[in-house]
Symmetry: C2
DNA sequence: CTGAAAGCGCTAACAC
DNA sequence: GTGTTAGCGCTTTCAG
């Protein structure tokens, strides 16, 4: 017969220490009302028998699990995984555990079982770390959203009634396109992300707005949409160069697609940045080592996620302590432009002139 | 005064339906011994009051949480995040939830609190998805490792006494170097990963072995170590080319560093693959769009992770059902070689000859 | 300062 | 088929 390892529980500790379970409870919760000797003795017994309080039993009675549910999609991509890393780090700091659920697709809409699973495990809050794509926010109007726990969203169109944290994609797009204009490029094309994505739409709108404000006309042939992948970027740049031959520069909605753009330009014997300038978006670590190195918009998903968790904790604490409820708000973090070789046209002209 | 949302519990359902809690329990567990009418009535009440069984209470009594703890590090890298994705997918399929913990560093050795946290939450098993780096396995000899739950490891030196799943890094390295020989390269250098990493050592050993078997001599100046990053690859390739000028090809321990190698070769005006051949490792999606496209070793961390979870589930089930305990074993999955332009020397010679 | 009793939400074991 | 009793491991009253 196999000996089943039975973990010590509070009763065992109590009986070995010759006290009641309440006293043990007081010791493990660091309550003041225990005599020093008793406390010491109990602590020794705890150590000796290797007692570990059950978070489960605690959660059950205190109605507080110190656990956050996280819903995410596309973990194999750098954005979501950086975000998850930020969530993990911030949750750790705040003393919360993480229950993780990865959606098989960004636009999964069978959401109810996920909430059920989290709520049945008594999470204290849910972080919705899935970007807004297509109709994947439809369920927000459903009734079951009147949850007993707070919800914080990452990366979606700001709304009055929810707490949300995101990078300001529109601003990022403006930085990119303005920079191309500053470098003297005149015919600026755009390779967009899939326009079901809020982020892709924001970046594209920025491209349109900056060009329009600068007196340029926008035509449909000036842009093409990809699906974020390098493979789609390769297709997109071919198409774009055919339909917009005068193009002298391009704002690409992410670095992966920008990589393919560089590849295609190299292959055609076009020089970057002299003949064509390229700006990406994301600043993935590799982009500094593309050929040539890529000018791109830096966004920090790790930071976004940390802020989201901090906001979540505030909301939770407010509810628990019966304070003023925290008002829902949208927080937009500012991206920055990282200038590298792929747009360094002025510098080159300067150098040639000076040489 | 704020109305606290109180969720319906099994008692509420029982009293509304006019049955005992036991009957409700039977209904939610789909037990056969309930009359159809009673079952129907109870189900209606459940629906009406929005009752959701507490997984917490269930776990407490059944000593089974259907939850797996996952420890991981370096989520922002493609390997770990793909692995996590595989874990999530396999766990989902098996009906397990995931409790996630990200280590701040790969060689974190303060491990005990992590186990404590998982065990206090009654996880049914722990997946250790942190690569073997330096001394980060020391704790395996500690006493507290005699856990009451099974443990499955990813990516470490195989051992008799543990269950472990990994890619066969040694084989991958052999594929890479053999391919360079096949293409007629004679002076094959190596840019290794940080040698504290088991994976890096395996890949390097393969490089040494294949060359030695082919009658080549290995010198210390034939290789340099990086730290996996593109930035370190840039430094490494400079150094390597200085100390090994005859080098006509290089096996680089990952794609990120290989990217920098291509960058450096381009910058020096050397042609790839004519002057220098380059093979990477990982097959990150971008590598097909490097300039030139990169020959590399394909490894599937997602798959590794799925297998690990499946193994874990087997172990758990065996223990629960008092079956023969599953013997610990090491599973090595085979990588494959993806041939692209960066090593296509023979083809070029052939084409030139044929033209 | 300490303990006894009650109960968080659920299920196993047994009775009827 | 269905209900009763006991209890998973802990904390919250409330006595003393």
């Amino acid at each position: 017969m196999r000996q089943k390892t039975v973990r010590a529980n509070i009763k065992d500790v109590a009986s070995v220490a010759g006290v009641s379970t309440q006293t043990v409870s007081r010791v493990i919760n660091e309550r003041p009302d225990v005599s020093p000797e008793t406390r010491k003795r109990v602590k020794e017994v705890i150590e000796k028998v290797g007692y570990r309080p059950s978070a489960l039993a605690r959660s059950l009675i205190s109605q507080r699990s110190y656990t956050l549910g996280v819903v995410i999609a596309g973990l194999k991509y750098i954005g979501p995984s950086s975000a998850l890393s930020g969530i993990a780090s911030a949750a750790e700091e705040a003393g919360y555990a993480l229950l993780l659920k990865e959606l098989p697709r960004f636009d999964t809409d069978d959401i109810e079982p996920i909430f059920q699973a989290f709520l049945s495990r008594h999470v204290d809050g849910i972080i919705w770390a899935v970007s807004e794509v297509g109709e994947n926010r439809k369920w927000m109007n459903n009734s079951f959203t009147n949850l007993e726990v707070p919800l914080v969203y990452l990366t979606m169109e700001p709304r009055e009634d929810v707490t949300m944290v995101s990078v300001n994609n529109y601003l990022g797009g403006r930085l990119a396109v303005s920079h191309l204009l500053d470098q003297g490029y005149k015919n600026i094309g755009h390779i967009a992300g899939p326009l079901e994505w809020w982020e892709a739409r924001q970046r594209m709108k920025a491209w349109k707005d900056v060009l329009t404000e600068a007196g340029h006309e926008i035509h449909d042939k000036h842009w093409v949409a990809g699906n974020w992948s390098s493979a789609s970027g390769a297709v997109a740049v071919e198409k774009l160069m055919n339909q917009y031959p005068e193009m002298d520069s391009v704002f690409v909605a992410n670095d992966q697609m920008a990589l393919s753009v560089l590849h295609a330009l190299n292959q055609k014997g076009l020089r970057v940045p002299e003949d064509v300038g390229v700006v990406g978006f994301d600043n993935i670590p590799e982009s500094a080592f593309f050929w040539p190195s890529l000018t791109t918009v830096q966004q920090d998903q790790y930071r976004v996620a940390k802020v989201a968790v901090e906001e979540m904790i505030k909301v939770i604490e407010a509810v628990r302590n019966d304070l003023e409820p925290v008002q829902p708000r949208s927080i937009l973090l500012e991206p920055t432009l990282v200038v590298r070789r792929s747009t360094a046209r002025l510098e080159i002209i300067k150098n040639k002139g000076g040489g």
